[in-house]
Symmetry: C2
Subunit: 333 residues, 2 copies
Amino acid sequence: MVDGRVRRVTSADVAREAGVSRATVSYVLNDTPHQSIPAETRRRVLEAAARLDYAPSAAARTLRRGRSDVVLCLLPDWPVGPEVGALLGNLSAQLARRGLTLVAHPSTREDRPIAEIWKAITPAAVLAFEDLSEAENAAMRAAGVALLVALLGRSRQRRHELEVPQQRVGRLQAEHLAALGHERLGYAYPDDPRVAIFADPRREGARAACAALGLPAPVTCTVPLDGAAAASAVRAWRDAGVTAVCAYNDEVALAVLAGLRVCGLRAPGDLAVVGVDDIPAAGLADPALSTVTTDQSAVAAHLAETIVEVIHGRTEPPGPGDEITRVVRRAST
Amino acid sequence: MVDGRVRRVTSADVAREAGVSRATVSYVLNDTPHQSIPAETRRRVLEAAARLDYAPSAAARTLRRGRSDVVLCLLPDWPVGPEVGALLGNLSAQLARRGLTLVAHPSTREDRPIAEIWKAITPAAVLAFEDLSEAENAAMRAAGVALLVALLGRSRQRRHELEVPQQRVGRLQAEHLAALGHERLGYAYPDDPRVAIFADPRREGARAACAALGLPAPVTCTVPLDGAAAASAVRAWRDAGVTAVCAYNDEVALAVLAGLRVCGLRAPGDLAVVGVDDIPAAGLADPALSTVTTDQSAVAAHLAETIVEVIHGRTEPPGPGDEITRVVRRAST
DNA sequence: CTGTTAGCGCGTTCAC
DNA sequence: GTGAACGCGCTAACAG
């Protein structure tokens, strides 16, 4: 009561309370296999633990095991939108169900070696959006236990690659526009080079869809988030006979809409536009933006499954199905 | 080379290499005060550590010290925008400079006791956006070392309160509109009840500014992120003689713009609008949205400072200055 | 002054 | 079921 410093409840306390050894406590609490402990003893231990409100020290366990129960997600240095936020939220819930805790580190450029970050956490797994350097990769593998999962690797072959089907996003956009009768498509590529890991596969998907449909490849224009600059992209597309564009995401799509306004044109009559993500602003734009969305909770479930597999050293399961991505049709197309 | 399992380099290895005891290694590497170690010995130890590429085990240190060098940020369950993302990025950099690692936990609703999360990390400090329950609060304080900082407390008095001057945001909006000659203001309140912790102080700031300027209190309307719904708010404001509205944030402001369109009206002539955050879509809207921005790096610097003070048990420094928030004037006002 | 010894912090796990 | 060692860094007490 009066003492401020409350001594932690340790497994020794539980052992004493239950009248057994610390080893037994550990075995019971961890459900250690190949260890036959009578139900009666087990009950005593569990009750004692509950009575004392025992919580094992994560630090001690980590020290002993060599890894914690934390999954560390290294966020990219480019601004993540609400989609990634939603993904992390779902992933966190999925991992929690499996006894893992997800935390994210907002990486502030390469100002600090990645090693410093995971060494501070000793994670069971690291989830990165981009491939890490071979050195960092090796360091992680060596430094004990932390495993690595690359969310989106640059076509490296031998890495755990967990590709959210970004290609499918682009494919869906192109197919949607083609179904509306458009034959000459454009691709609105983002201005920020940092998002290329996402943009390239998406555009590739659009290209593949066009090829499959016998249409010419999309005309790519880089579109800055600024109406005037977007206007010149719009003019370029018009000159090329493009009647509809797939945008990298909703923000770029909004820029295209702004560019249309600058030119005195309007979607979808003069140029149809379809974005990606369905951010709130998409539905509020004039005209409302058609867009492709992904079921983040389905992606998260698959991701969690894969992470657990990788932690246990098993191979990863097959990729997620195609049903997780769909088109939201609105006025802009 | 052939062996996969590389044994960690420990302080014992460094001690052996340098020909000293482990204690000495610890003293040198931690620059322990009141411990005079000759430059020569110090050099030997440092060189040995460098040569062996020694990195102390965070887990062991945490076990011994009772706390890690990690600062845990508990994200709210409502979707955080790019502003919070930017804040975390800056904060991460600032904390890194002080030897602390920032990680964020995407909280997925109260489906899991907060205790489970920080127990998995043993953080030096926890940064929360909302007040925690008294029980959780006590648990953290008791469970050893983790300290608590509430970013935005609900007018509780005795809590470490680190209030980014949200009130000032609202004040600035109102003052901006008043300076443009508007006398009857509206406040566009968000539909999502979860963001009340931010919305209430902002609106309060707008109200205070009006009072100070001798204007009537702003007319509050809740504005869903949907044009049709926003239209009725627009009509209500027009009926009340409101000529300009402060929106909770840019998304709500965009909704107001959409509502205006639905009514066949237009900003700023029929109703001036000012948002908060300057998200990309704000500049791309029609008309472009005026908005209030905050210098997140300044906020982060102050936050980092406060966190360090709190970890060291000292009192917190005074709040940040008023210069971190400013208006970006565009067509909508 | 310089540096060492010894033991703590706590859960896990092998050998008996 | 148990004793004991282990993982690794920190630091009070102490000896040269």
